[in-house]
Symmetry: C2
Subunit: 804 residues, 2 copies
């Protein structure tokens, strides 16, 4: 690709053509909002042609299609591999227009054919009940970004181009969206983009000046501040400003081509050099155009185009105001549809020729339907990483450290299709083994001391930035474009991305249940570490297990939650999750050392079942983990879910076995939280029969849970005789605490659990009363110990209770 | 205040003094992390003097105290009114040092006196179980920002200075924190700060270069980019860079004084001018210092100071390594404590004299304990806004529009102590009446067309920015500094600030239950509007009522949730919330038109009770809203919570009354959601007796809820015979839908409710079967109508069922 002289860029004839194509886009956008009949205005417009209820957003649409079709020109000219992301939330009409014109929409939805009838369908179904959404929903060909919630277009764009060296993601950022925090920091994604390895993002900040009812900040600062801001973010900003279409086409063609050439030059340079790739000052475009550009300029004495009044429907009250109908007709005819579409309603050939063809169309690029490109990970065998269990409950080990070795080899096996994401805690979460084969991606400057354990490299596969928003955005897009990833983050601060989780879950739910042409993508795997129970010096603000609750509000078709109690279980769960598609898998696993219980084989069986009796920890005379209705019923059931609660429940069961050997205790461990929900609410839910066999129909259950206790009640509310279900969990009691002290404050500790059991079994006599008093004394003693020594006594920290 | 010549700024002697003071701060910071005994190193340091477990964060501390004490100099020199916000998360040692040295800590916590014994207490309790937190927790005098979760220091700083014209908030932003989205956009808060009316923020970006295990982005870009970025954000950046203390004190003194003078000049100019205040280029400081500055430079062959290895404890394994003990002693003695503290352990007088006194100390500024300054709002009488109810269920009205009139007069009555916050939707949420008395705060540029409905003014009381994070941060700090506010936001996107809600709830919980000296502050009032049930064209991504669930996970001492069903109830609830303190009040109220049911007097009683029978909608022979055990028991209970569900339940009850007049229906409306929880879980919870009187002990309950249905099960799980509780609510079924269609998809609609009742009452005969079939037919008919016409039929939208 050669560098260009401006005069060569675009001829006057080509400008005329591109403007005609754009008029077709704008015509379609306006038609979608207003018309239910008479799509080509072959009859005089009447109220009957106009939808009863006008819904949709005109304001952002013209600049979106403007940008889209200018990219089309370059795709054709340079055979580019490109996708399009529409940041402005309600811009669908500006995207659906070109997607329809280039034929993809009709291919995917044959009843929206390139005919007058097809156009009528497109118009009438847009923003209509049961019809086409006003965002770039999953139903939109070429979309990987819905844009319903603002802030994530740019992180999505970067996520798509990682490890896609030829791809250019053209990302229109709305100036409303640009005010959000997630978008404001996503500009820094360029510090993680390697021009030798990754593709490129071309951001186009569309300053149309207004949000719903307000000016935008970036449109009301000086040009000096505006360009300084983007230089500060590490970009070369190019301003394209104006409102005269033919002039603007010329400017945009020149600037966009210059940007594309610049991108290719940076890439070529990085790819042909032997040196460590440097971070280029990537180009970006500031496109300043009127909101609702080409729409009505004035209505009833108020400015409309170039104002917030263009945000949604610029003219309403159509059915009450004949003058408005005339004005609408005048407006629509200003695009000259009769010169754009032939008698059948198809775009005239001269214009059709402007669009790329086949998969070069941004709407048909398979990268935006990443499932079709997805290849399964080459997975190591988890048995090679399994922990040897000579005796249960003796060895202490960091479960996540073992996982780190597994992840290391996944990275080694899959050098271009898997990345590991986390804010700043890969080492802190004990996953450092990955640094044996890779580093942290880093395109900032380097210092000599980085050589000593900095683990930085432009080609690193570990993505660390102190922005959960950006990481989540990158990963979502990385998955949606056919790759794989694993996100680990601080449990309490997973709430930072609550709303992003919600949106991705909704996206997957729609894809899975309503968009058959979308191939399954890799699951979004999130591991919460640095969990609520181990915040020894971080205190109260770092204690929040509520992300689990959030997940349970989303569709059972796409959500899974796992609590592996030890290393072999964590391996099994991670292995399962990394192979799965179209889920959001939440794994909760503490990073600290934990006792080990199950062999690799046992863990595989236990995790596959998701819930099971641990006969070796039970005292009810049964010896098999396979539960049947022949089982003798116990006096009490001790259930647990989560690594720390499991240890405490096991310790409590051991105490009970020693001091009250006649008490028949059944010990149940839950890995797959959704086993508790009924089978008609979640596909993983136990049948009522299986639940009753496991938990009996009437015996007291003392359930020790990692998270908020009432979540268990919420999930299990349809189970038999729920009044017997007694749940312990985190109840917002904490500060600077030792692990045991925090457990005691929230009553998930071994001593309180013993008391809980004693209080629920009536036939126990004075020995039980004595034991209860002893437990209360232990609680006081251990709190005092913690407050005196600052640590838990070794009998707690090195607690060992070997089971045969 | 005159402008300054650099030579005048600070003498060599004063530099020596300030450096000594800073050495005292650093000594204390290190002492807090390491020492449990021997605080003044009067004995040779041994392992017994050192804490068993070393917890705390050294890395950020020196630059925090450095900044703090340089401000002290200027507070004294210019009699400034200032507060300090520590953005770097774990910087408490760097703040607690100066807070202790200036005496406030000892005044608030007398056992941490300014003596050797007091110092020992401070050291040994820091980051120790039951002791002092390693963030600037609510227990920290002068703190309004805990910093446990990163990203909010700057929005907190701006919130504090709004309407505090003399206040300067000195805000240290960590370069880790600066990578978060919320912080990245909070820099734009300067577009809302009026130099004539508000105080000022002096941001100090501390580039110490590292996070937990990584370099920071902003420390690894060119100086050209760095300064461009902050110019782009609208600031004048001043760089203070180096690591030689005496040189750095001189630089910092000069730069900070220059900034303060500049701030005062901008303010004086704006306050003495008759013109519309312009936005100044406010100063900010980029302080580039080594992480762990003045700490060990090297350990075991690795760089420590100036590296991520200084993040937490720079030297550990103290008890296993005698060499480390010696090095620690050497390090601590490098601060020369013997020259800083007298024989009693008190700072020498020459240094004591450097700190401001009384409330001028940033740690003792009453603004940072805003409850002591808080004055109650001058509230209008809600009866003046009440809707006249001639017949129940006939008038349609936007409840939030009525609220807007009430808010308008609160703004008028309280011109400097109340602000209204929302992303961009004050008009969309029908609160436009406020524009009769105020405008939106706006310090961006102005265009002529703003005159036409733009409602912009530098003195506006409405805060709109498309960043829920920034708004929430502003409001939190505005409240914590003694003022009042009301935040309204999109229901689905309230999840954007989930984690901020969590942190504020934890802050309030600690203040209320553990920090007696903190006076109560105004409640954080959040109204969710644009709710899940009215997303006619926004579709699935805009449907999420899960914020309610989130709130229920936090302490019952600080959380309240209200669902006013009509305008008079909304007024009553808002009135109550705006008068309250130390809560987070969540109000859920749709913005669209709704039927009106209760008179102002009835609404006051109903909302005060929080839950009640509506006898006029019931059919069980009772006529009083006061429930007693004498009541006849109904056949079925129809309960509802939320404006849309209430309308649907009322319609269903009306259908049942007409077609099955013998069926005894009791109709219960819930305003205060926590009434459902048991009294020992939430202070608002109904007693078991009251619950049983209202809901009976065994009759089926068909509960129609605004949010996710299982939340009701979670709250009510301790109630009698919960198996009879059948809940309808949002279950993630939606797209582009008419209101009725969306209700039907999620089965909260009148027709499905009638079916639900019929299926739960066994004695009904063929008339009921017939009615059920009729309801099923209605469902099909209405879905078809919506899909044909794009709207609901008028009998639904104008539904009227006058009750006597």
């Amino acid at each position: 690709m050669n560098s260009l002289k401006p005069t060569e860029i675009i001829s006057a004839h080509d400008i005329t053509l591109i403007d005609a194509y754009w008029r077709a886009c704008n015509y379609l956008a306006a038609g979608m909002i207003y018309l239910q009949h008479n799509p080509l205005l072959r009859q005089t417009l009447t109220g009957e042609h106009i939808k009863q209820r006008l819904l949709g957003h005109w304001g952002a649409s013209p600049a979106l299609s403007f940008t889209y079709i200018h990219m089309n020109r370059l795709i054709k000219k340079y055979d580019l591999n490109a996708i399009f992301l529409a940041g402005p939330g309600h811009g669908a009409p500006g995207v659906l227009g070109p997607v329809y014109l280039e034929g993809t929409y009709s291919e995917v939805y044959p009843n929206k054919s390139k005919t007058e009838a097809g156009m009528q369908k497109l118009f009438s179904e847009f923003s209509f009940p049961g019809g086409i959404g006003s965002h770039c929903t999953p139903e939109t060909p070429g979309s990987i970004h819905e844009g319903g919630e603002l802030g994530y277009s740019l992180s999505h764009a970067y996520g798509a181009v990682f490890d896609n060296p030829d791809l250019i993601a053209l990302c229109v950022v709305g100036d409303g969206e640009a005010e959000t925090g997630p978008l404001a920091t996503a500009w820094h994604s360029n510090k993680f983009l390697n021009p030798a390895r990754d593709g490129a993002v071309l951001p186009v900040l569309n300053l149309n000046g207004y949000k719903i009812a307000n000016p935008t900040l970036l449109a009301r600062i000086s040009e000096e501040e505006l360009t300084a801001l983007f230089k500060g973010y590490g970009y070369q900003p190019f301003i394209v400003e104006g409102d005269v279409p033919l002039e603007m086409h010329k400017k945009m063609a020149e600037v966009m081509e210059r940007c594309i050439v610049m991108i290719r030059d940076f890439q070529t340079q990085a790819r042909s050099s032997q040196e460590r790739p440097a971070r280029p000052m990537w180009p970006m475009i500031i496109l300043r155009t009127p909101k609702g550009w080409t729409g009505p300029t004035e209505l009833d004495g108020h400015k409309v185009a170039g104002s917030w009044r263009s945000h949604q429907v610029p003219m309403s009250a159509m059915h009450e105001n004949n003058d408005h109908i005339e004005r609408l007709e005048h407006w629509l005819k200003s695009y000259q549809p009769e010169h754009l579409f032939d008698e059948n309603g198809q775009l005239i050939p001269e214009l059709e020729a402007l669009a790329p063809v086949g998969p070069r169309r941004m709407s048909a690029n398979p990268i935006a339907n990443g499932g079709v490109l997805r290849r399964e990970l080459i997975m190591p065998n988890i048995k090679d990483y399994g922990v040897n269990i000579a005796q249960r409950g003796v060895t202490q080990m960091s479960n996540t450290q073992v996982l780190g070795e597994f992840l290391r080899d996944i990275i080694r096996n899959n050098p271009t299709t898997f990345r590991l994401f986390g804010p700043d805690e890969t080492a802190s979460n004990k996953l450092s083994a990955v640094y044996e084969v890779t580093q942290k991606a880093w395109m900032g400057s380097y210092l000599p001391e980085d050589e000593d354990g900095g683990n930085l490299s432009p080609s690193g596969r570990v993505m660390e930035m102190l922005s959960e928003h950006t990481l989540e955005g990158w990963l979502e897009a990385y998955l949606l474009t056919g790759r794989h990833g694993f996100f680990h983050t601080y449990e309490a601060f997973a709430h930072v991305i609550d709303s992003m989780f919600n949106q991705h879950a909704k996206w997957l739910d729609i894809c899975k249940n309503h968009v058959a042409w979308r191939a399954p993508v890799s699951s979004l795997n999130i591991m919460l570490s640095s969990v609520v129970w181990r915040q020894d010096h971080n205190g109260f603000s770092h204690q929040d297990p509520g992300f689990i609750d959030l997940v349970t509000n989303k569709s059972a078709d796409v959500t899974r939650i796992y609590f592996p109690p030890d290393a072999n279980c964590l391996l099994s769960v991670a292995d399962h999750c990394l192979r799965s598609t179209n889920y959001i898998n939440l794994i909760v696993s503490d990073k600290q050392k934990h006792l080990q219980y199950l062999s690799a084989d046992e863990a595989a069986i236990h995790c596959a079942k998701g819930i099971g009796i641990w006969p070796w920890a039970s005292n009810d005379g049964n010896t098999s983990a396979t539960y049947t209705s022949d089982y003798d019923e116990p006096d009490v059931i001790m259930a647990c879910c989560g690594d720390v609660p499991t240890m405490e429940s096991l310790a409590a069961a051991a105490i009970l076995r020693e001091y009250l050997p006649d008490l028949k205790v059944r010990f149940i461990n839950v890995v797959d939280l959704y086993k508790l929900q009924s089978a008609d609410e979640h596909p993983h839910g136990l049948s009522q029969t299986d639940f009753d066999i496991l938990f009996t129909r009437d015996k007291p259950i003392v359930f020790n849970f990692h998270g908020y206790p009432w979540l268990i009640h919420k999930l299990a509310y349809r189970r038999t005789n729920t009044q017997r279900l007694h749940v312990r969990g985190y109840k917002e009691k904490g500060n600077i605490n030792t692990p045991l002290e925090l457990a005691i404050l929230n009553q998930i500790d071994r001593f309180n659990l013993v008391i809980d059991v004693i209080e629920r079994v009536s036939f126990l006599g004075s020995r039980a009363a004595h034991l209860r008093d002893a437990m209360k004394a232990e609680i006081i003693r251990h709190i005092e110990y913690a407050h005196t020594h600052g640590i838990d006594p070794s009998e707690i920290t090195d607690w060992v209770w070997p089971y045969a």
